[in-house]
Amino acid sequence: MIEALHLSKRYGERLAVDDLSFEVLPGRVTGFLGPNGAGKSTTMRMIVGLDAPSGGSVTVCGQPYTQHGSPLSTVGALLDARAVHGGRSAYDHLLSLAHTHGLRRRRVQEVLELVGLAEVSRRPVRGFSLGMSQRLGIAVALLGDPEVLLFDEPVNGLDPEGIVWIRGLMRELAAQGRTVLVSSHLMSEMEHTADDLVVIGKGRLISSCTVDEFIERNCRTEVRVTTPEPARLVALLEEHGGTVRSEPDGSLVVGGLDAVRVGDLAFDGSVRIHQLVSVQASLEAAFMELTRSSVEYQASPSVGAPEAEVRS
C-alpha cells in the first residue's frame, strides 16, 4: 500500500509534482500514467526517499519508506535499469545488495534464474543489452521478496517475449497480494495489465480510478453510419438529440444515440443505410485527450492531419 498526500516537488522555478494525492492498493496492478515529464519518475523517487518532497508526504505500508527496518523487503524498485556499474557482474551487483540485509547467496541465484540471467550472471554488466539490464533491474526489485513493487517504464528495451513475460510477472505479483505500481507513458501498455490507473499531467493528478471506470468515464461510444442520403439522416438524427459529424470518407459519426436507436430512426424515416457500427474510442485516445493540455513537449500538428482525430 502506498499513500501520497498533497505531495509536491519543486526544482527551482519548476513544480515537477504539484499537490499530488493518491492511493495504490495491494493485490492490484496500478498503472502510473502520464506524458513524458509529467513527474512520474520524480514521484517514484520520492516514494523511496531518494528525493525529499518540497511539501506533503508519502508513506509505504503506513510509514515513510526510510523508516522501515527492512527496506529491501518492503519495496523493490526498478527505477533505472542502466544504473549499474559496468565493470561488475550481475551476480556481484545482486550479492552486494543482498549482503545489506543478510540475504543468502541462494536468494541471489534464485532471482537470477527467475529473470533468466543465470547463464550470463558472471559477465560484466557493460556487455548487457538494454533488455538484459531491465531483467537485472527486475531481479534487484524482487531480491528482498518485497510487499511493494515499483517499476519505472519496465518494458523499455524488452523484446516482445520479454514484454509478455513482465506483464505476466506483474499480474502474478499482484495475485500474491503485493502492491504493484508501474509507470508508463503509453496507455496501450496498461490496458491489459493494470487494474487501477493513476493518471498525472504536469505534476497534477488528472484521474485516479479503476481501468473500467476510466473507460466508462472517458471513452464515449459512438456510432458510425454510412448512407447514400446523408442530409436526410443528419436532419433526422439531430431532431432526436444526436450530434453528427462527417468523416472524410463520407460516413457519419453519431454521438448521443446508440446503434439500435440510429437504426430504428433510419428505418422509421425510410432512410437507406449501408453500414452501421458501434465504435468505442480506444483507451489510448481517451488518455491522449485527457492529457493533451498537460503534454510538456508537444509537436505541432502535422500538415494534413485528419481533422477527425480531434474528438470533442
Binding site: 523517487r45 523511496v48 526517499g49 531518494l50 528525493d51 525529499a52 519508506y65 526510510t66 522501515h68 527496518g69 527492512s70 527496506p71 529491501l72 523487503s73 519495496v75 524498485a77 527505477l79 533505472d80 542502466r82 544504473a83 549499474v84 556499474h85 559496468g86 565493470g87 561488475r88 557482474s89 556481484d92 550479492l95 552486494s96 545488495l97 549482503h99 545489506t100 540485509h101 543478510g102 540475504l103 543468502r104 541462494r106 536468494r107 534464485e110 527467475l114 534487484v140 531480491l143 528482498g144 521478496d145 510477472l169 502474478e172 505479483l173 500474491q176
Partner: protein, 287 residues
C-alpha cells in the same frame, strides 16, 4: 515466482544492519577489477619510486647533507606518489556510483545514508591501510639496504674523497616502527580525504583533481611563499602535517614540522572535517 517457500520466508525475515552494509561495500570494492588493479599500481609505484629515490639519496650524499638525512622518510618517499593512486581509489569508491547511477540503487536499498558513507569509509580505510603497510614496510627494508652502505662524496678538495657510511636504522630503534606503520596510516587518511571529496563533488574528475591538488600541488606551491610565512604556514598543510607521522627528523629542509602524532592529528582533522561535510550533504541532497 517462489520455487522455495522457505527461502522466501527467510528473505522476509531479514533486516538492514551495519554489518550487512559493511559486507556489501566490501563486495563492491573487491568485485571491480579496476580497484584491484589500482591497488596493485599503488604498491608497484610506491615501492618502485621509494627504492629509486632511496638509492639516489644514499648513493649521492655530501657531508653537508648528512644532518638532513632521514633514513626512514628517505626510504619511503614513494608514498608521495602512491597517494595519487590512492586518491583515485578513494574518490572513485563513491564517484563511480554517481557516474553509473548505482548510488540510487544503493541509497534505495540502504536509505540510511550516513550508514552507507560510514561503511564505505571503513572498508576503504582497511583496504588502503593494508596496501599502505605493505608499501611502507617493503620500501623501508629496501631503503635500509641502501642506507647500510651510503656513499658520501666530499667535493671540497681538489679531488673527491669518497667514504662509505652505515646510516641504516632498525625497526627497534626509537620512533622507527611508528614511522613505518605511519606510512600506512598516512595513505589510509589520504584515501579517506579523496572519498570525502568524491562524496562532496559527486564527479570523478573534479574529486581526483581536487584531492591531488590538495595533497600534491599545494605543498609545491607553498615553496614559493615568502620565507617569513613559510615556517608558520607550511607545517600546517595537509601533506606536511600528515607526513610528520612517517618521519624520524622533525624538519623538512629548513622548515620545522609538527610532532608525529600532532601532525597526523591535524591531517586527520582535515579529513574528518571533509567527511562530516560530505555526510551532511549526503543526507540533505536529492539523488
Amino acid at each position: 515466482m517462489r520455487p522455495d517457500a522457505a527461502a522466501a520466508l527467510e528473505a522476509r525475515a531479514t533486516t538492514l544492519t551495519f554489518g550487512g552494509v559493511l559486507r556489501s561495500e566490501w563486495t563492491k570494492i573487491r568485485s571491480l577489477r579496476s580497484t584491484v588493479w589500482t591497488l596493485v599500481a599503488t604498491v608497484v609505484l610506491t615501492i618502485g619510486t621509494s627504492a629509486l629515490l632511496a638509492w639516489a639519496v644514499s648513493a649521492h650524499l655530501e657531508p653537508s647533507f648528512l644532518a638532513d638525512v632521514d633514513p626512514v622518510r628517505d626510504s619511503m618517499s614513494g608514498l608521495m606518489f602512491g597517494q595519487l593512486t590512492v586518491a583515485v581509489i578513494g574518490a572513485m569508491a563513491i564517484t563511480s556510483e554517481y557516474s553509473t547511477g548505482t548510488i540510487r540503487t544503493t541509497l534505495t536499498v540502504v536509505p540510511r545514508r550516513v550508514t552507507v558513507l560510514t561503511a564505505k569509509l571503513t572498508v576503504l580505510a582497511c583496504v588502503v591501510l593494508v596496501c599502505g603497510l605493505l608499501c611502507s614496510f617493503v620500501s623501508f627494508f629496501i631503503g635500509q639496504s641502501f642506507f647500510a652502505n651510503a656513499t658520501v662524496t666530499d667535493r671540497d678538495g681538489a679531488a673527491d674523497t669518497v667514504t662509505h657510511l652505515d646510516l641504516h636504522v632498525a625497526l627497534t630503534d626509537p620512533g622507527v616502527l611508528r614511522a613505518v606503520v605511519g606510512g600506512g596510516l598516512y595513505l589510509a587518511a589520504g584515501g579517506l580525504l579523496a572519498l570525502a571529496l568524491g562524496a562532496l563533488l559527486r564527479n570523478t574528475a573534479a574529486a581526483i583533481s581536487t584531492a591531488i591538488g590538495l595533497l600534491f600541488v599545494v605543498p609545491l606551491l607553498a615553496n614559493f611563499l615568502p620565507s617569513a610565512w613559510e615556517a608558520n604556514v607550511v607545517k600546517w598543510l595537509p601533506t606536511n602535517a600528515g607526513s610528520a607521522i612517517w618521519s624520524l627528523r622533525p624538519t623538512t629542509g629548513d622548515n620545522p614540522m609538527l610532532g608525529p602524532w600532532t601532525g597526523y592529528g591535524v591531517f586527520v582533522a582535515y579529513v574528518l572535517t571533509a567527511l562530516l561535510a560530505a555526510a551532511v550533504l549526503l543526507r540533505r541532497r536529492d539523488t
